[in-house]
């Protein structure tokens, strides 16, 4: 195991770009390599050592043996762990955009908040964010219809708008709240939101599952109330409790499922919501 620690010396107003400092690139690097490396800032490159003290411990045979520790405010460091295939990155502080974008393996832990596009087009690996993240968490590149295809993102705080846009696999868990249009254009995979959702989750979704444990603001017309289910198994994972299951987005013959917690979203059930203990299913209620 090779531990490379980046201790921040100073911050920069213009963001540093870390796309060439993946474990895949630096597992063979010695101290001198870091000393000679110019990190892209805007249209120029500046010595990395102006911004960071680098400490290296141990040896690595492959990227998987690398543990990168970033200490400091990385709020202006873009592309941390972008396109990485193995190893581990621990960021102690906020991180800028595109953390873990297009990563195929390895693990990233951010102890802080993350800007937009966290885990964009992730294909594998694990990304954990202890704080909040902004828009387009686990989304796709502009115009790309294949978003995140694998791996897992865990956001302990809130996620911004359009979380899991074009999700085509993998799993996003948000322990806090989500803003509008979570899972828009989604085709596969699972988004689990433990907090509340502002409005319109699953717009234009083709397939996949969205589970909302909190309260949903406004639902799209494209979603058809399907059933109230108890302890469902979704994407190979069992969930406890009662959920209202919708299918959508019907506007494009979508077969996606949206599960809303039946207790928090009782208002969505209308009259049935007042009697749901008396019936085993909404079908039974409707038939009466």
């Amino acid at each position: 195991m090779k531990t490379i620690t980046f201790n921040q010396k100073k911050t920069s107003a213009i963001a540093l770009e870390f796309d060439e400092l993946r474990p895949d690139d630096i597992y063979t690097w010695e101290k001198a390599d870091f000393d000679n490396y110019g990190v892209p800032i805007g249209n120029s490159r500046f010595p990395l050592t102006d911004y960071f003290d680098i400490e290296i411990e141990g040896e690595a045979e492959s990227p998987d043996d690398v543990k990168m520790i970033l200490n400091g405010d990385m709020g202006r460091v873009k592309y941390i762990g972008c396109k990485m295939s193995g190893g581990e990155i621990i960021c102690n502080g906020d991180a800028d955009i595109h953390v873990g974008a297009e990563m195929t393996g390895g693990k990233i832990f951010v102890n802080g908040n993350v800007e937009t596009f966290a885990g964009r087009e992730m294909a594998g690996g694990y990304l954990e964010i202890s704080g909040n993240t902004k828009e387009f968490c686990g989304a796709s590149y502009m115009g790309e219809w294949r978003g995140m295809t694998g791996g897992e993102i865990l956001v302990r705080g809130n996620a911004g708008k359009q979380c899991g846009e074009c999700l085509s696999g993998g799993k996003i868990t948000v322990l806090g709240n989500c803003d509008i249009l979570a899972g828009i254009h989604m085709a596969k995979g699972l988004i689990e939101i433990h907090g509340d959702v502002n409005r319109w989750p699953g717009g234009q979704m083709k397939n996949g599952n969205i589970v909302v444990h909190g309260k949903l603001g406004r639902l799209l017309e494209g979603f058809v109330l399907d059933e109230v289910v108890t302890n469902p198994e979704i994407d190979g994972k069992s969930f406890e409790g009662k959920f209202i299951k919708y299918t959508g987005d019907i506007g494009l013959n979508g077969k996606g499922s949206l599960y809303l917690d039946a207790i928090a979203n009782r208002d969505k059930l209308g009259e049935y919501g007042e009697h749901d203990d008396e019936y085993t299913s909404i079908r039974e209620y409707r038939n009466l």
């Binding site: 902004k134 911004g160 359009q162």
Partner: protein
């Protein structure tokens, strides 16, 4: 030389006569910004320093019912506040009424003061659909140059908005040092 004239001191707005005091001090509204023909014509002609621009762009178009609630008449001044700032603009009856609860300020430095710079990663700032409050005020609407000076303070050392508002106006014509002045 005789030029065709396209100047128009003030946009044409519907007549409103409100004689009563308003029923509320602060009105909660939804703010939209955008362009209209008066603002567009004045801006692109280049008359941005003029009164005309102030009237075309620095005007809050309101539903007459909202004006009645506040007790403001056409071309009275109001203070519009949002989470992003506050600005003094004229009030005028909207040609597109009824739209109770919505106010409209044409794009321009006045509207910019109160709109949100948040793009939500979608390129555009949020110029429309912003929660705001509107209240009556005695302050005057600043001319463009004065407003820019107050808002951005690029060339003044003063920080106090009160002081900046009451500084001598930069006027309706360009102010710069000409070459011949030096000689």
């Amino acid at each position: 030389m005789h030029y065709a004239n396209t100047y128009l001191e003030k946009p044409v707005v519907p007549d409103v006569k409100i004689n009563k005091e308003g029923s509320v001090d602060v009105l909660k509204c939804m703010l939209n910004t955008g362009s209209d023909i008066y603002q567009g014509a004045c801006k692109k002609r280049g008359s941005t320093l003029k009164e005309e621009y102030k009237n075309a762009s620095g005007t809050c178009y309101m539903d007459p019912r909202d004006m009645e609630k506040l007790g403001v008449n056409n071309w009275d001044t109001v203070l519009v506040k949002t989470d992003w700032g506050e600005v003094v603009v004229s009030a005028a009856a909207s040609r597109d009424a009824p739209h109770e609860g919505q106010v409209f300020i044409c794009k321009g430095p006045w509207a910019n003061t109160v709109v949100s710079a948040e793009t939500y990663c979608c390129i555009d700032p949020t110029y429309k659909g912003i929660h705001c409050t509107v209240e009556k005020t005695d302050k005057k609407v600043l001319l463009m140059a004065d407003l820019m000076r107050k808002n951005y303070k690029k060339w003044v050392d003063e920080d106090d908005d009160e002081v900046l508002e009451n500084m001598p106006s930069l006027g309706e014509l360009p102010v710069f040092k000409r070459k011949e002045q030096e000689d």
